[in-house]
Structure formats: C-alpha cells, structure tokens
Amino acid sequence: MDPVSQVSGRAYPWGAKNVDTDVIIPAHWLKTTSRKGLGRGAFETVRAEPGNLFDDPRYAGAPVLVAGENFGCGSSREHAAWALADMGVKAVIAPSFSDIFSGNAFKNGIVPVVLPQEAIDRLVEVAKTDEITVDLETMTVTTAYQDRFPFELDPFRRECLMRGLDEVGITLARDTAISNYEAGVAAARPWMLAGNGHEGVAVEGSGRT
C-alpha cells in the first residue's frame, strides 16, 4: 500500500446519510475475483439519475467525498473500498462511519475522517466551488477560507496509512506470541479444536504451505 500523508483536491459535496455499501457498489459487481475495475460500478444506482453528482464534470476524479452520518453501513464487502479507490477517492469525510467500512477503508489507503455535522454542512458548501485538504500530519481538514477542522485517528491506523504498512506482515512477525497463545489454549481448553463433522465436509490438499 502506498503511504498517504495528505489528500487535497475537489470533493463530492454529497452529505447523504446512511449511505450503504449496496449503494456504493451493488451486489452484481461482487462476482469478480479481482480488486480492480470496480470504479465502473461505483454508485451505479445514484448515477442512473440525471444530473447526479458523480457524473458532474466539476467533480470528475475528485479525491474527497463529503457524506452524512453512518457512511458505509450494511454489508462487509471490501469491494466498496475498492470501488472508491478505483474511482480515485482517497478520503471520505462524514460524521460517522460503520465500523466495518472504516476498517476496510484504512486497509486500502482511504482516510475515513470523522467531523461533526456542522463541519460537514460547511464542507458541503465549500466543496461546490473549492478544494478541500485532509492532512494526516497535522490531523486537520482545511479549506481556502480559513476553515480548520481538527480530527482524530486511531494511532496504529494512522501509522499504517502514513508509512504504507502491511498489517499481515506486522502480525506474521509475532508468530512466537501466537504460537504461545495457541499452546496455552490447547492445554486449558482442548475442546476448542473444531470437530470433524459430517462426511460431506471434504478436506483436500495439505494445509499449511
């Protein structure tokens, strides 16, 4: 993942509440086995409406999206984050995010910025004409009009974003700690191993490679 320290540019002034992941990327796009190309399906139902925001040339390729409360609610599909990334969105600013979506966003280099509703209302206005800057170094959202909205980010996630870290790699380095934990459980709660179950439950192949 590429490191992110600042996202600056035009912003979709949307402000809609409860934007669910079925709206961000409808289910029929989920049949892919790739992470690429999902931008074509992003906001398909919104784009079906004439005069919609996402086909407005003023915002074409905007790296910021300003939305309302509970952004990314619904399904856990990471395809929503892949679709946003594919259409060039690198930061979403909203009063709140669904827990699963914000995790998915971080893992794909998209910054989910939480700001109060008053700030959202202001940014929706500014975004109609001007650019918005999200800065991870100073943890602020700023505009050309002296607006300055501070925000917070989980320190670990901020570090992963700013250094472009791979979480799986970080955790694999903790192999000994995980093995020790497993040994402890095997001794204290041996029944935690899953039983084999019915014959219809097939196991092929050799496992750990």
């Binding site: 809609a16 669910d20 989980d154 700690a177 995980i178 191993l193 196991v203 490679t209």
Partner: protein
C-alpha cells in the same frame, strides 16, 4: 465480586494474544467461515506473497451467495452447470482455493450446504465463548450462541487466514434488555425490528450489543439467531446472548461440537461466561415487549420501522432535517404516499429465507399461516428457500414443503437467494416484496426493487392476501 465483567469483556480478555502500546490488540480467532464472494482476493494475496493458511482446521468454507437456488443435480444425479459464467468462476475459485490450502469445504451438492450463518450453528462449528469471523456482516448472528462473532472485510479475511488473529480495538458495550413477554403473533423478527427502530441504523456503531431480559431468555436458539443476526442493522458489528441451558441443549451432539468429557468441560467454562451481576455497560436500552406489535419497514433503511397497524409516516413529522430529506427520498423510491395504511399496500413478491429467517422454526411459523390457504393471484413470485440442506430435509420430513407447494409457493434449494441481487432470484424494478431478509436498501433485491422487511408469519400472511397484512387476523380466523 472484585471486578465484575460483561460477557463481552470475558471473551475479549480470553482472546488477547498481545496488547500494543497504542491500545490495539492482537486478538486470536477460534473459528473462520469462508464463502465464495469475499474470499478470492484474499487467497490471491496469500499466493502472491507466498503465505499459507495458519489453521485450516479452524476454517470452514461453503458457497451460498452466488449459487442459484434451482435444482443442482439432474434426475440421474449429474451436477448441473451454472449459467452465469462469473458466478460459476467464483464458485470454482472457492473450490480450488480450499483444496489448495487444505480448508474444509462443503460443496454446493452436499446435504450440509447452506447459508454460512445457518450452517455454523447447525454443525456445532459455532461455539459459546469463541471468537468467530466471516467476510460477511451478518456474522453477528452467531452471537446468539454466545460467540463473539463479527463480519470482516477481505483484507481481514487474508489476515485471519495467514495469522489466525486480527488487530482490533476493544469496543464499547451496549445492553439491550427486552422485558415482559411477546404478544400474540409477535416473533423474534418483530423484536429486532423494534430494537432497530428504537436505536437507529447507526445507534450501535462502535458498540457490541448484549441482548438480555426475559424475552431473550425465553427464546429458542433459532429466535435468538434472528435477533443477533440484525445487530449490524442497528450499527453494531456484533451482538451477544449469554449461553444458557437452551444453548447447550441446542449444541449437544452437533457434528463439530465437543463430545464426552470435552463437552462437560466446555459447558462448565461456558456457564462462567455470563455477565457478572453489577457489570457495567457503556449504554443500556430497555424495551417492554408488551408494546411490540408485528412490525415491518416502510422505507429504505432498516430503522424505518412501523407496526403493521400503522401508517406510512409523513416525512415532515421527523424532527431531524436530514431525516426529513431521507424519508422523502425513501417514499419516492418505495412508491408510497405518506398516510397510507401499511395494510393497504399491495405486493407482488414474497421471499421467505435468508440467514435471518430460514431455519426450521421460521418455516414452521410460515407454514402454519399458509396451511389450507393459497397464494393470492397478484403474487408473481413466492419463494421459500430453506437456510440449509438439513433444514430442507427436516421441513420435508414434517410435510412443510407440501403445504408450501400446494399453496403455490416455490420450494427451493438452500442459499442466499433473493436476499441480495447476486444470483438469479431477484425482484424486478418497481415491484414490491414482503421479505424475511434483513436489508431493505435501495436496489438490494434487484435494481429498483422495493423491500418490506417482515417476519416469516407476516410474509406468509402477505402472500395469501396479496398485500401487507396483520398476521394476527389470519391466525384468529383460523382457530
């Protein structure tokens, strides 16, 4: 007690491998369910980085989302091809990925196949006190058995496959207590709809909910699964219900559950998990079940809940201006006018299924309403889709399939079906469906589809009258 803890805190503490200085914890995952839609990119990433699956023995895979619900084998027992090449490709990828990495796999044609959240509990793969994840938001369902269970994205699927852990921060806790007892014709689905109507679609964000109170204690495991399933519709990534004798009776002798002395040891530990008296929650919400009527949704967010005896609300009646705008958009999409009685709304489709309501009790409740009646003429599609092959067999053994088929329902093979528009079962644009699923989002059941979330009995009632109906009236006229 020195330091009373909640159920959530006990499970959390038992699974922390390491705590980082920044407060993030490395948390062990005991059970991982995998399906075809959210896993291919995770397996590809493992391959690309030369990584293996740490614990294939704690991982179980099954196809469900994409799979057509029509017959899977012909009369001669040959497996029928899947028409949509993209779906076929994704299903083949699950099969080859699980074979390559040595993961247990239930094939589409196996009798145990079903919706991932139905088969986990049914096989005894889901156990109290475990951490369980799946690349699917309705993993919250498994919390009904006292497992800390939540949905994850594909990058996290990869993380769990490679390390059997996740990097997480501890959540806040919310107690949702449902006191009293359920009224006539009121089901667990109505309870969870009422809860979401109360807390809102974002009310549980950042929290793990624990459902408590007499009504929850009195529910069967099937009913509890319906409630916990929809925790995510209230914004909570996980819901929990303390394991008790009802849970243990349900799990005993399940194929993957512990046996013999292991079972006794497990039950002893599970009993110790219930929240301690005096344990503190960050927030508590209480509902009196006496006031819960058979309920349904009118709009395009699961928080848009109303009693069946109610009316379509006037957007102007909402205090919050953004809610007013959202409500008007919902009504436009749903093709409804404010003030219309819910019971005057005609429907064209009925879907009884999904991980919320496709277990045996759900099918029994629907069949009890349908028996001796017929689907109304205006209904274009009425589907019953059992949650698993085992549920289907059980229902057939009880003769429920016959009741549905004689009434004009289609009796299908297990899968997600019309819950999401990803397989051939869809609601056409502009048409209306009474659905026992969990999401009424714009386009969820197909582009332009209109969804009203209801209980199985309410869906059955709507099917026979051709409109949204108070099931209590049909129940009364029968006895």
């Amino acid at each position: 007690m020195a330091n009373p803890k909640t159920l959530y805190e006990k499970i959390w503490d038992a699974h922390v491998v390491e705590r980082r200085d920044d407060g993030t914890c490395l948390v062990y995952i005991d059970r991982h369910l995998v399906h075809e839609v959210t896993s291919p990119q995770a397996f590809d990433a493992l391959r690309a980085n030369g990584r293996g699956v740490r614990r294939p023995d704690l991982t179980l895979a099954v196809p469900d989302h994409n799979l057509p619900t029509t017959a899977r084998v012909d009369a001669a027992g040959h497996v029928l091809p899947i028409a949509d090449p993209e779906s076929a490709n994704q299903l083949a990828a699950l099969r080859s990925n699980t074979a390559e990495f040595g993961i247990r796999y239930i094939d589409a044609t196996a009798p145990e196949q079903g919706i991932v959240h139905v088969i986990g509990p049914e096989q005894g793969f889901t156990l109290p006190g475990t951490t369980l994840v799946c690349g699917d938001s309705h993993t919250s369902a498994h919390g009904a058995l006292g497992a800390l269970a939540f949905g994850i994205g594909t990058s996290e699927v990869e993380h769990v496959l490679a390390t059997q852990t996740l990097l997480l921060r501890q959540s806040k806790t919310m107690e949702v207590r449902v006191d009293g007892s359920l009224g006539y014709g009121v089901s667990p689905k109505d309870v969870i709809l009422a809860i979401i109507g109360r807390i809102g679609a974002a009310g549980g964000t950042g929290y793990v909910i624990e459902f408590t109170g007499e009504v929850i204690r009195a529910m069967s495991v099937e009913g509890r699964l319906t409630v916990s399933n929809m925790s995510i519709e209230g914004g909570a990534r996980a819901g929990l219900i303390a394991p008790d004798d009802t849970t243990f009776a349900y799990l005993r002798d399940r194929p993957m559950a512990p046996k013999g002395a292991d079972w006794d040891q497990a039950v002893a530990w599970w009993r110790s998990l219930a929240s301690d008296p005096g344990a503190a929650y960050d927030r508590t919400v209480t509902l009196d079940a006496t006031y819960i009527a058979p309920s349904l949704t009118w709009g395009t967010s699961p928080e848009d809940v109303v009693a069946i005896t109610g009316i379509v609300p006037d957007p102007e009646s909402f205090a919050d201006p953004s809610k007013r705008v959202a409500a008007q958009k919902s009504l436009d999409y749903m093709g409804l006018a404010a003030g219309t009685a819910m019971q005057d709304i005609p429907i064209e489709h009925v879907f009884i299924g999904s991980c919320t309501n496709s277990r045996i009790e759900d099918l029994r409740a629907a069949a009890a309403v349908v028996e001796g009646r017929h689907v109304a003429d205006r209904i274009r599609q009425a589907l019953v889709v059992p949650g698993s092959g085992l549920v289907k067999r059980q229902a057939e053994a009880e003769g429920l399939d016959r009741i549905f088929k004689e009434a004009g329902f289609q009796w299908r093979e297990p899968g997600c079906s019309m819950c999401l528009a990803m397989n051939p079962d869809k609601v056409p644009a502009g048409e209306r469906c009474a659905s026992t699923s969990n999401r009424n989002f714009v386009g969820r059941q197909g582009p332009g589809s209109r969804t009203h979330l209801v209980s199985p009995a309410m869906a059955a009632a709507a099917a026979v009258t051709g409109k949204l109906t108070d099931v209590r009236e049909l129940m009364a006229s029968k006895s």
